[in-house]
Structures are given as C-alpha cells and as structure tokens.
Symmetry: C2
Subunit: 220 residues, 2 copies
Amino acid sequence: MANFDITPLNKLVRGPKRASYDREQIYDILDGKFLCHIGYSWQGKTVVIPTAYGRKQDKIYIHGSLKNRMMLSLTEAGEACISVTHLDGLVLARSAFHHSANYRSVNIFGKVKNIEGKKEKMQALKCILNHMVPDHWEYVRHPNDKELSATMVLEISIDTASAKVRTGDAVDEKEDHELPVWAGIIPISETVGEPVYDPLLPDTIKAPESVLNYVKNNNP
Amino acid sequence: MANFDITPLNKLVRGPKRASYDREQIYDILDGKFLCHIGYSWQGKTVVIPTAYGRKQDKIYIHGSLKNRMMLSLTEAGEACISVTHLDGLVLARSAFHHSANYRSVNIFGKVKNIEGKKEKMQALKCILNHMVPDHWEYVRHPNDKELSATMVLEISIDTASAKVRTGDAVDEKEDHELPVWAGIIPISETVGEPVYDPLLPDTIKAPESVLNYVKNNNP
C-alpha cells in the first residue's frame, strides 16, 4: 500500500521522528479502536466530540440522529478531522521535562459525504457494527425502514492522514543518569472483561461466537 | 459546588437524559484521565490532537514546545474545546439500531491564556505531572531555566462544561425481547501494568511510593 502524501496539513513538524505516513500502520491503528474524537466548527467555535466509527478501505463511517449537531455541522463543512489514540503507557523520566507517554495516534483529514441510499446506508451501518465486534452484524436484527430513516450516516474519505507513535524508554539528559531517581514505564492498556448477560435474557440464549471471539481477541 | 450554566454551546440536545452539568461529576471524570483531545482551527480547518493535561480547580493546563502548531493556534484563537472520554463498555443489543457504548465524557469550553511567569509556569507543570502520577513532582528533577524557556504552557479556564454519561443495559424494542438473540455488556477498562524499570537504572534504585501508589490505585 502506498504511503499517504505529506502535505502542510498532515506533516508532523514537532517530533518528526515519531511520524509515519504508512497506510498499513495507519489502518492498523484505526482498526484497533472504535471510538474516535471528531472536530467540527459550530458558529465559529471548534467542538470536539467522541463518537463510534467503522473503517472500510479508505473510508470512515459514523452515524447519528438526523438532528445531531455534529452530524449536521460536518455535512455543512464538507470536511472533517478525526483523531484516534491508543495510550500504551506512562513514560516516567528522572527529570520532569522528559516525562512522556507511549502512544499510537492517527489524524485523518477528509471529505464528508451524507450517505442517503438505503442500501449504502445499510452497508455503512454494517461496517460500523462489525468494526466494533467483528462478524456481529449477521447475528442481530437489522435496521428496519423506520430506524434507517431516523439514522444519518456520514462517509469520511481518508484523504490525508498521519500517525504519531512513541515507544520505548524514557530519554533523559545524560547527566541525569547519575541522579538517584527511578525511571521507567507504567504500561497502560485497554482491557475487555467477560460478557455480562442482559438480565432479561432467557437461560437458553448464550453469547454468540462474535462476542466470545471479541473477548478472546482483545485480551492478552 | 454549583452546576455549570447551561448555554447553547454546552447544552446536550441529543440524549438529554444522559447529560450532566454537575461540577463535581465533571471534575471527577476529568481527574480520572490525563489524556484529552483538543480542537483547534488552523487555516480554516478544524484539527483534533491528543494531549496530556492537568486540572487544578477550574483550570486545565497543557504544555508543548514553543513552535507547536496546536499551542500557537490555541493562543491565537484565545479559546479551546477539550474532550475527555472514559470508555466503559460495549452495549450489545438484540437489534443493530440499539447498539451503544457505556461511557463517561466531558466537554469543556474555555478561554486560553499563555502562562509566561516563571513561577506560574512551574506550578502549572507541577499540576500536569501530579495529575498524571499524584505526588510524583517532588520526587523528580524540576525543570531548569533552559527547559522552562523551551516549554509553552497554556491555561484553559473551564468556563462552560457538560458531561454525557451512559450506563446500564441495552435498551431494545419490547417486541425484540422475544428474539433468540443474545444481548449484554462487554466491559472495557483501562488497566495499568507493573512498572517496567529503565534498563540503565542501578540495582539500588527502587520505584518510589508515587509510582507504586499509582499502580495500586489504578487497578481494580
């Protein structure tokens, strides 16, 4: 897969050694989460909101209600910025100045398109649900016409993207290595617990493969 | 503590039952994380970036290099929007439409001030570090003049804020309860591992109380 072009918008100027424009790495970071933070402008003010997403090839899909301020503002703007971040650890240095975090983050800039066709909308919703829990879409009841009409779906093209990744140990000043101060990493990760059965379920219904696989694949 | 005023900017219109303007709850959500997503406008485009923060009373502090595009853009704009999100679980319903997530999120809107006084800057950096790892500031080497001059610190006043919180089970249509489909919650949480010692540390240096407490207090 070809790298993303480097433009003034996505070029990492601060900490360029941590930058990546590699499409495979960027998709990998995107596929490891389903919650992004998306920015939009509302009456001249910048607003940031967390929202669920799905990725299919070079498109991101999000959904919301027809009257959702974010959805309407993004449609009007015609473009969006999305940030997805995995926090991997705290990096504790000997000096306050060199404290940092290990993380993998991606920024996407792209055009926004309101998906209106019924079939395309259904496909996008399938993408979002399967992005959260792979293969779960086929297991659940699909949206009916009323639900579909009440849902707005936006497609955001991944036109410009960059990743920023920090890994490894603290980087202290050489002279600080003599200090009697501990340094190291505190690992941080997102973990998934055992599925909690809905209290209204009859005893006969067990969690499906998609749920069991999700739990298995998201635990070390 | 008094609630935040409800204005058109922070008023939750979608899902108002999940809204809270309670200062204590909002501070609690902010204090449970140290990574926020902040939005800024750059050449007419909205950009979202993850960054570390600290909170002290009704102020948020962030820091970066003097040439950091985000820091400069926020200073120029004079206002900022910050989003902090705890993801607590996937909510899997019997119908695709009612899938959701359990989460606690906060949005802040406030004025941005560049902290230039040496003493105030030092206090803000202390706030950020102790927000990450409580009581760690006194343990490490403090910034010297050169490091302090190379750091830009912004104070963001928490003028307007709202929380959005979803908890509990899936909410399906009544008729869908008859479906032979599993529903439930997959709990998700951020967990902290054992501290990893820096390879350059001599054997005599052990992890300090602040680090041990952090690990202890961030594990169930």
